[in-house]
């Protein structure tokens, strides 16, 4: 196990409180937990790319960062417009 893999395995524990917030919180807390999960998983993909030495996987992290941006804007618009 190299240091990148160890860092990725520790980072997975950061998803536990976010999952708890997404399950138990109201819709506003779920939205914030969703944003944070997008950032954490993007960082996790960067670490896993280095851990397994599969460099094309870095595209996944970049794609997820870009898609999280679009998804976040859409969810925020949906919350403001329909979930009053």
């Amino acid at each position: 196990m190299n240091v990148w893999e160890l860092a990725a395995e520790v980072m997975i524990f950061a998803l536990a409180p976010l999952t708890w917030m997404a399950i138990r919180g109201d819709v506003r807390q779920r939205l914030v937990a969703f944003y944070m999960a997008g950032v954490v998983i993007t960082l996790l993909l960067m670490l896993l790319t280095m851990a397994f030495n599969r460099m094309p996987m870095m595209d996944l992290a970049l794609t997820l960062a870009l898609m999280s941006f679009g998804g976040g804007i859409v969810f925020a618009h949906f919350l403001a417009r329909y979930l009053k």
């Binding site: 240091v3 990148w4 860092a7 520790v10 980072m11 524990f13 950061a14 409180p17 976010l18 708890w20 917030m21 506003r28 807390q29 939205l31 914030v32 937990a33 944003y35 944070m36 950032v39 954490v40 993007t42 960082l43 960067m46 670490l47 790319t49 280095m50 460099m55 870095m58 595209d59 992290a61 970049l62 960062a65 870009l66 999280s68 941006f69 976040g72 804007i73 925020a76 618009h77 919350l79 403001a80 979930l83 009053k84």
Partner: protein, 118 residues
Amino acid sequence: MKSISIDILLIVGVLITLLSVLGMWRMRDPYQRMHFISAPAALSAACFTAAIFLQDGLKPEAFKALLTTLVLIGMNTAVTHAAARALRISETKEWSPPPGEEVPIRADDEMVTAEQKQ
């Protein structure tokens, strides 16, 4: 020396992320929780990118990591503002303060209402 620097950067990045998630978990309302997104999006991503540059040098994957970090930093500002705006609209039905709502103009000002502001 290089491997020690990489280890330190990874430890700092992971610790910032874990502490931010725990801090977000402990806060009361979504407005407070949103502040904790910026630390991993900016600092942890910068630490990991620096570690990747140290490990691999000027390779394409390092520049992809740099681009990912820049996207995360830019995304965080826009999405956090959009989320805060959406949360306020979902609570008060509009973005601008209604008449009578107390709005601070500067940090050292007393609270004034929107009517007094006009």
